[in-house]
């Protein structure tokens, strides 16, 4: 195919140099940079959302059955609180008759507030080990938690088994959680509990180094004495039973306030608290335990009591002596329990004793934490919004296809019934208007095809100030019924108006200078005018150059998109556009609505809508075929679609009053315009979401399921296209191009649409738009149309 762009038609294509310069400038244009930045932000939003839901970078591995040969015995047999101060590992036990309630995996919007309420009602504090991704999503709950006087600890960011992770990952999990905590409650914490941990005797050779590393960084690792196993949901009584330590021993007790259905936990907790209180137990936080043991040992040291009474780390009831004897310590802790306003700076050091692991977050970490939570809030809002967009486009795509198939079938059967007729056959001559600007290659073919028309016609060639002898060629062909009218270059709308004014007959056919008709095209095209209500007829434009990739794409689009759509719009009486390549109008009707206008770039859409508003019926005649040459390069295609998109928006805006009009104008405004807006504006804008979500799901969620869903959408479109091809009796082999076409077209149409929206918003003037004639400005030379 020829690569040089002949100056043809109403739009003169730019030269090669102009094109190259244009491309370089386009890439630097601020809008491209902005578009790329938005894409970057969108990617970040989706990745963040996936990360928070463990879809991105999630690791479900849990270690089991590893040996603990390298873990010191004193740790394995020690208490549930593991510290590494001074580089030495030591454990602390919970003193007798003391319970440290610990809750893992929160905060959860359903269960955690209920737990907090129970704790407050029963006047006991708890220690919550929080997952960073949940803190990010529900920061308010954490703030309340801390203000209520509870203690919080880190439970990693994504709930991974740290023994499988690299040092870098461990650091990130901890730091990210601290950031989230700082943003949520203005504190950081030094308590830690590893996911999938339990009692100290379960520490194995792989997790021990993790605890050592975290200990060096200053973290206190907390384990479990009694596990209520509430996550197994065994029933309220079992939960209470398993959570109860033997005799009067103290215990760090594990409950879960998140991670599944926790209604049993909610029921069991008050029972448990009351039961233990009845046995004389007191409740405290982990720091409360440390404080108690510290007071006890100081007491013991002070009175010189035997080591077992107060030495730190005794597992058995060294605390029994302590809790009785250490008056100040006990009083402090007893007073400290449940004093609700846990303001750490408060008069009672008791409040801060229970939250001693908390440190106020200031400076960088506070601000970064707050920024992180803001970013999370945006993502949490954005992704559901995009999902809604995806749903909209899903409904629109399926709805459109359903409508098209039903209505197209009806249209086909109705119009092709043997007995169908518009009325008495139309045999009077018609005027065919051919506007031409520099069409020296094509005008001869055009006129030749018209000369073979079976219907009596007069041909009016309106030469729009061509510079390449188009008019001379037209005249030289010597056809008897051809009239050539010359005018100064004024644009296609003006040329058509000129032709209509000079037409002798009551019906005019409008076409492009490079369109080729078949012999019976005109005859078929004008038959609908036998019905006096019909004001205009749209013909069937076909792509001639369909053997290139771009040509084949457009061929599919013309057959499926335009022509299938036109059948639907015909029946619904809201066709928005008669193709400029082949359309017929009543001459009087055209003059009545003011002729073709310069107001928009899509004069064909403009006049069609105007006809609707004037009460005329616009129909589609599938058997009136015209052959056009579609744009052969991506740049030309882009240019064409950009103009069409912008022009359509202009036309819709120009006729926006029809929304509130009465009668046929109102019908178009309330039925046709919304349909056009939904299918030609809304759907293209949201359609790429199909591909975005498919890509995301394929990579991060489930490759096969996502791919299958995408293929299902494609299959739907293929079915529709095949049906359209069948109705038009086209060869099916072009459908092979369809998958690529759908993918590429979605992105291109979306970009074109955004481009034209931006242009409309910024009020810039396109190259093709004419300046308003004020007399001060001359006709821009070579401005094209």
């Amino acid at each position: 195919m020829t690569t040089s762009t002949p100056s043809r038609g109403r739009r003169r294509a730019p030269t090669r140099i102009e094109r190259a310069a244009g491309r370089a400038a386009a890439l630097q244009k601020p809008r491209v940079i902005l578009a790329l930045l938005l894409l970057l932000a969108l990617t970040c939003v989706m990745l963040l959302d996936g990360y928070l839901r463990a879809e991105v970078g999630g690791d479900e591995r849990v270690r089991s059955g590893a040996s603990s040969s390298k873990v010191p015995d004193k740790i394995l047999n020690g208490g549930p609180i593991l510290t590494f101060r001074g580089g030495q590992a030591r454990t602390v036990s919970v003193p007798d008759k003391t319970i440290a309630l610990t809750f893992d995996d929160g905060p959860n919007p359903t269960w955690t507030p209920q737990v907090l309420k129970i704790l407050e009602e029963n006047d006991v504090p708890g220690t919550f080990f929080l997952v960073g991704s949940m803190i990010s999503r529900y920061p308010d709950i954490v703030k309340t938690m801390v203000e209520d006087g509870n203690e919080v600890g880190v439970h990693t960011f994504t709930h991974v088994d740290l023994s499988y992770q690299s040092d870098a990952r461990i650091d990130r999990e901890m730091e990210q959680t601290e950031l989230a905590l700082a943003g949520a409650a203005g504190i950081t914490t030094t308590l830690f509990r590893a996911p999938y941990s339990s009692e100290t005797d379960a520490i194995d050779n792989y997790s021990w180094p993790v605890y050592q590393k975290l200990g060096e960084e200053g973290y206190t690792s907390v384990f479990v004495d009694t596990d209520s196993d509430d996550w197994k949901r065994p029933g309220v009584s079992d939960i209470v039973k398993w959570a109860t330590p033997k005799g009067s021993k103290g215990a760090s007790v594990l409950f879960h306030d998140a991670g599944g259905e926790r209604s049993q936990t909610i029921k069991a907790l008050p029972e448990y608290i009351k039961k233990m209180k009845a046995k004389g137990y007191t409740f405290t936080t982990i720091s409360g335990v440390m404080e108690k043991q510290g007071a006890a040992s100081r007491q013991a040291a002070g009175t010189g009591a035997a080591g077992s009474a107060g030495a730190s780390g005794t597992q058995t009831a060294g605390a029994s002596g302590a809790s009785g004897a250490s008056g100040s310590g006990a009083a402090a802790t007893a007073g400290g329990q449940g004093t609700a306003p846990g303001a750490s700076g408060g008069a009672g050091s008791t409040g801060s004793a229970l939250q001693a692991a908390h440190h106020k977050a200031t400076g960088t970490i506070l601000y970064e934490g707050k920024a992180l939570l803001a970013a999370v809030a945006i993502a949490e809002w954005a992704v559901p919004a995009l999902s809604v967009g995806l749903m909209i486009v899903g409904v629109a795509v399926i709805g459109r296809f359903g409508m098209m198939l039903i209505l197209a079938r009806r249209h086909y059967r109705q119009r092709n019934r043997r007995r169908f007729t518009w009325g008495p056959a139309v045999t009077e001559p018609v005027s065919v208007i051919v506007p031409a600007y520099n069409e020296k290659e094509c005008i001869a073919n055009t006129l030749k095809s018209l000369a073979q028309s079976t219907h009596p016609i007069e041909i009016i060639v309106v030469d729009d100030g061509s510079t390449d002898d188009t008019a001379e060629i037209a005249e030289s062909l010597g056809y008897p019924n051809v009239r050539v009218i010359r005018q100064d270059n004024a644009g296609k709308p003006a040329a058509l108006n000129n032709g209509v004014r000079n037409a002798r007959y009551p019906i005019v056919v409008m076409m492009d200078g490079d369109t080729v008709f078949e012999p019976d095209t005109v005859h078929r095209l004008v038959q609908p005018f036998a019905d006096p209500g019909v004001g205009a007829v749209a013909g069937n434009a076909k792509v001639g150059n369909r053997d290139t990739i771009i040509g084949a794409w457009q061929h599919i689009e013309y057959v499926m998109g335009f022509n299938l759509d036109r059948r639907m719009y015909d029946l619904l009486r809201c066709m928005p556009t008669i193709p400029g390549a082949i359309g017929a109008f009543r001459r009087d009707a055209v003059l009545e609505v003011g002729g073709m206008s310069h107001d928009t770039l899509a004069e064909d859409t403009d006049i069609t809508i105007a006809m609707h508003r004037a009460g005329w019926r616009v129909v589609y005649e599938e058997h009136a075929k015209a052959w056009t040459e579609a744009p052969g390069s991506l740049a030309q295609l882009w240019s064409q679609r950009y103009r069409w998109s912008y022009g359509t928006m202009q036309a819709l805006w120009k006729h926006r009053k029809s929304l509130t009009d009465k009668g046929p104008s109102g019908r178009f405004g309330r039925v046709g315009m919304p349909l056009v807006v939904i299918f030609q504006v809304v759907t293209p804008v949201f359609a790429p979401l199909i591909d975005v979500f498919t890509l995301y799901s394929m990579i991060f969620i489930d490759f096969r399921a996502a791919l299958l869903a995408w293929l299902a959408v494609l299959a739907l479109q293929l079915t529709c296209a095949a049906y359209a091809f069948r109705l038009d009796r086209e060869k099916y082999r072009y459908l092979l191009m369809m998958p690529l076409q759908q993918l590429a077209y979605r992105q291109m149409m979306y970009l074109v649409l955004i481009h034209s929206c931006v242009t409309a918003l910024t009020g810039g003037r396109l190259r093709w738009q004419k300046l308003k004639r004020t007399g001060e400005v001359g006709t821009p030379a070579g401005a094209g149309r």
Binding site: G86, A374, R765
Partner: protein, 107 residues
């Protein structure tokens, strides 16, 4: 239709575009920093709980917390107590002796 010859609309949109672009860039930057954990400098001395009076971040907490340690910088004590404090008492019969010695050195 839509053409605005005064260029005012395009100026407004340009500013909006700049704002949006900056927000996007900032958003990405915040996430990158948070993900890498930059800016969260937590060093051990500020993390250790009950750090006897060292951490200025806990106002009003008068009690010298600590499991048997006197007031004194943690870094100084290891040398003195490294021998005995590491043995977390496990309830063996020798506990009493080592326990009291721990108490003694600490006290």
């Amino acid at each position: 239709m839509f053409v605005d010859t005064s260029g005012r609309r395009s100026k407004v949109l340009r500013r909006i575009g700049l704002l949006v672009g900056t927000v996007c860039l900032g958003y990405t930057a915040v996430l990158a920093m948070a993900f890498m954990g930059w800016g969260t400098s937590l060093d051990p001395s500020s993390l250790l709980p009950f750090d006897s009076g060292q951490s200025a971040q806990r106002p009003g907490f008068g009690q010298q917390g600590g499991l048997g340690r006197q007031a004194g910088r943690p870094t100084a004590t290891p040398s003195a107590t490294s021998g005995s404090s590491s043995t977390s008492v496990t309830g063996s019969s020798s506990t009493a002796a080592s326990g009291s010695s721990a108490a003694a050195t600490a006290g």
